[in-house]
Symmetry: C2
């Protein structure tokens, strides 16, 4: 099981960024996202996407320290200060249960010690959304895009049109 | 030259998302970002990152239709409706001058016809930030992370610490 722990979400300011974190987590093969602050709107938005587009993605709320300490598998924190992803991903890929911690601008420095790996997706400042996407893409080796989500809505890829297949409900 | 054209930016609502688009463009090897709406705060923020962290990333403003029509190289639009990235990237990699168009929630349907390729980073809804990151990562085959930005600030990768090297100015 792959779970994304989103730290430091501020409901007004981070609404759209955290929604993107959740959408990427789902689309790139994670099983769920845990927010450290209750925000029912984010959960509704993601549940709605899952209802229409398929899969079993969950959104939950928990205290971050508690959640990290109770996690039985590997703990990975994505940060620009960490070790280059391409040096550690084959080691990380040996694990099936991974907690992927992604922060906002400031994260408690304690996190760096609580996890097994601090992993950098490049050592330049950019985006936790991009970092999560690249991490999951490397972990699943691109196979996440081949998955069938069995949703009500499905896209037929095309070079110049928008084609959406909508399953008939009975 | 790789330029990212960010469509449909609304200064209040999209401030942080567009900033992340720009940061990813810069960190993943693009040369600049063009916004279709003037927003000096975004430009300031990105110029500030470039001043501290290095490189030559530019931010400009232009009418989108104009910019697309004047572009001499390849035009690629990232969209969940497009062709799978892994089917088209080796063809796209033959080009050196690429305009990468990324939209917000709604994009004018005209775009689909104006570009050479509509490319999907998976056919599930997620994030233009993640889509851009994966596109550039596939295009540069991961080598973007090896680039030396020669900035004033530089991170020394580490598994459990934050180490920033700051170049002395004379």
């Amino acid at each position: 099981m792959i779970v994304v722990l989103r730290l430091g979400h501020r409901p007004l300011r981070d609404k759209r960024i955290t929604t993107h974190v959740g959408l990427v987590a789902r689309a790139f093969g994670a099983d769920g996202m845990v927010l450290t602050v209750r925000d029912d709107k984010i959960k509704e938005k993601l549940d709605d996407v899952t209802n229409r587009w398929g899969g079993n993605f969950f959104v939950e709320f928990s205290d971050w320290e508690d959640y990290i300490k109770r996690w039985k598998g590997l703990k990975v924190h994505l940060t620009m200060y960490g070790l280059p992803i391409d040096e550690v991903i084959s080691e990380i890929r040996k694990y099936k249960d991974i907690l992927v911690v992604v922060g906002a601008e400031k994260v408690p420095s304690k996190i760096f010690k609580l996890v097994d790996y601090n992993v950098a997706i490049g050592n330049q400042p950019h985006s936790e959304i991009a970092a999560l996407a690249i991490f999951l893409d490397r972990y699943f080796e691109g196979n996440q895009f081949k998955r069938d989500f069995k949703g009500k809505f499905r896209i037929i890829p095309s070079n110049h049109s928008k084609i959406v297949f909508v399953k008939n409900r009975r």
